[in-house]
Symmetry: C3
Subunit: 346 residues, 3 copies
């Protein structure tokens, strides 16, 4: 997404402190123009500090101001904007200093918009974008270059569908969503019935995909349409890149999922879950609200209790020792039995 | 893939029973117009029952008819279409009630078809599709919006190449194939020879990709061209989304593979295999016919005996206990040796 | 990438021997026209031999000549080009026999190039490619069909951006790079700060992506832009298909990574590393130069010593025995304690 590279006039520290409810230590009239890392900052930059690993960067920063918590303010060699929630305040400040460019209303001469599509006059449809018959784009929608919007799809106000992404027929997207390049929403689910000879008969995929409001979908992520009912992604969900969401999956509000997760058909994931990279969830499994899953976990049973779960990840070792340990895995059951025997005879 | 949303006139239960070799319990002249889930059905819908988990939905369904097996017919509160194979029969019925729209013959004004391509008059080439010189599209082919077909590629009759997918030069696709959005067929294989200084020299990838008939390729799946000979996907193969097929891989007829599998170069997979999500197969490995692989398995040795195999997946636990167990994995070989010592001394 | 299918005049074995520093056994004036596998070769082909598994193919090859090492020359039934490094020599020979077609200078009538882009007259911009304002294409660049190049992106000389790939705003690509179809360079990093209610606030992603020279990026691979500083891919790096590179990752020169790797934000990977398929690297982790990672390894701690590492992969077994062993994993810590108790009491 293109943003202004910096804020031309800049904002004063006192304005920032007031708007983001920070305590200011430093010159109220000083101005910052851009957000930077501690190490890359100059006097016109505002940075933030959160992670102890960057303490040396804090001590030597050349930033105009640093957003950080009270407990670290003493380490800050420059102006400080003090808040209990530095990361979130930084997000807001960075948004103000580097505003998203609004869509430039209009349909590019090299785009294709069906005469039977409904496109609000405030939308931007970029070169090479294709909007099919029956599709609806609400106000302020942006369709990026070479993105496609299928028949009867509906894109809610202020959503942005970036370059080369595919919104298939009948998919509905809420307001203020962001779909990154190469994402596919509404491909057929993987439904096949075998015949006696082992040949596959395709099960027609008749549902759609529905995204709530404020959803972000990562680059090259794929979300399959439902077989009969819809695949549903709740408000505020964040999906990273290269994730697969199977048909009829339901994901609750404000759940976030890191790259490479594979969610099989009809799984149901609760609200506010935090799912790390490369997690797998088996088909028809339900996961309750407020679950944390560590990287690589495979969920094959329902989770009914909020909490943090892990599995399928074992420590990295040098190959020689890993090889010995991994080989023993095949004898783990036998080993248990041998220990049981020893216990009985001792 | 766009289908008619429902069958306008509807089909009578007696027609369905006859055509799909079902036993009918109920009013022969009643008509159904659409396929639905048990829960979402109304009197104009036909649903199916297979999975015990949905028994309550069966008991309370409002469907016009349900396709199910003899053993569950007594539980069905509405008309029943009885068959030993409800899932496959449902697929056929759903296909009739929600027909795929045939391609609308013609080349869109915003498509680009090389004067040196051969495109049958019955094909549909959508807006933004690019068909290069020397490419051949047989009868009834559909090329979706912004899909690209490279030089000398050949697409067999009635195949559908959906939006934003890429068919590279020299790739051949059989009849009635379905390639989902964002799939890439024929990217270069990953062939690199290191020099003494650790720099990589690219190995030219001179083979192609050949798909048989009735193959389905999932969204954003990638299939690399062969280095010297071709990468070959057999008739009736089903690949889900986000799968990687390396150069010179051969996949036998009617094998199905779920999302996220990574098949390294020159692996050879047999016929009628069923491969679950996120399975990995090492390079140059051969797997025989009729093998089932559970999710996450990594295959580093040949499989010569049909059967079901698994590995690399360990149970999900709460993080605290997982952490203790995973840490012990590094001492598994040592533990075996300790047990051996105890056994000797006991 | 399209190459000439073969070399029309052919090259003599003496030319090849001289140019690639091989010892020739055979007729110096014999000509070869194409590179082939041992099994698929005819008298006009040159093949290579490396892997013992193909010894029977060597013994029965119909090739005009075979590139191989001294130690196998005696097994070669035809002319031999002898070198200590057959694979790399073969790469060079194949390149000469099947030359990459140079870009055909010009902008296709169905491409869109902003009046404010700078495109060298030697570049080829294919049908449907979109080049935005402020983008720069240096000499000899190829932009494939339906690929997009965003504002202020810079593509170095002789780089090739293939079909349907996306280069986002501000991304810089060095010389002689190759970006395969569907790759996405410069999507937003996954940066989200939670508020008290569990809602996510997006962290603006203000950095870019920088690729060095001679980098190859696989099909449908995604590389996120940095949050504040850039994501950096060093010279000569090779990334296979379906890889995710998070924001602010840095990858050192000549590192190669196989398909499906997931590299989390701010990880730093050294030079000349060789990373197998489906490896995961946690955020903010540093890996030194010359590290080898076996398939599926998850790196959650820094690696400071060159060497080969593995983890998270356990042997494949038949499902029945795997199930027993995997179930025991949950009791591995308890088992250690039981063994400790036995040792104490013995």
């Amino acid at each position: 997404m293109q943003r202004r590279s910096h804020h031309q006039r800049g904002l004063t520290l006192s304005e920032l402190a007031r708007r983001h409810d920070c305590q200011l230590r430093g010159e109220p009239g000083a101005r910052v123009h851009r957000a930077s890392s501690l190490a890359g900052a100059d006097a016109g930059s505002v940075a933030f500090f959160l992670n102890q690993a960057y303490l040396n960067d804090l001590r030597s920063t050349g930033a105009g101001a640093v957003i950080l918590s009270e407990s670290h303010a003493a380490e800050c060699p420059v102006a400080a904007l003090i808040t209990p929630d530095p990361y979130r305040v930084f997000a807001g400040v960075a948004d103000e200093l580097h505003m998203l460019l609004p869509p430039a209303a209009g349909i590019h001469a090299d785009a294709t918009v069906s005469a039977d599509a409904s496109v609000d006059g405030t939308c931007e449809v970029a070169a090479g974008a294709r909007v099919a018959a029956g599709a609806t784009l609400d106000r302020g929608v942006y369709i990026g270059p070479n993105a496609t919007v299928g028949p009867q799809a509906h894109i809610g106000a202020d959503s942005r569908i970036l370059a080369n992404s595919t919104v298939c027929e009948g998919v509905t997207i809420g307001k203020r969503c962001l779909v990154h390049p190469g994402a596919v929403l509404g491909s057929d689910g993987f439904g096949n019935a075998p015949d006696a000879g082992g040949r596959w008969r395709k099960i027609p995929q008749l549902g759609a995909v529905r995204l709530g409001d404020d959803v972000e979908i990562g680059a090259n992520t794929t979300i399959d349409r439902g077989a009969l009912e819809d695949t549903v992604i709740g408000d505020g969900v964040r999906l990273d890149n290269l994730i697969q969401i199977g048909h009829n999956v339901r994901i609750g509000e404000h759940t976030a999922m890191a790259a490479g997760c594979m969610i099989a058909g009809s799984a149901k994931i609760g609200r506010r879950c935090r799912i790390a990279g490369n997690v797998g969830v088996a088909g028809h499994i339900a996961i309750c609200d407020d679950v944390v899953l560590l990287a690589r976990t495979v969920v094959t049973r329902p989770i009914r209790k909020p909490g943090a779960y892990a599995g399928s990840m074992t420590p990295m070792e040098e190959v020689s020792s890993w090889r010995r340990n991994a080989a023993r895995f095949k004898h783990l059951d036998a080993l248990h039995k041998r220990v049981r025997r020893l216990e009985r005879s001792s």
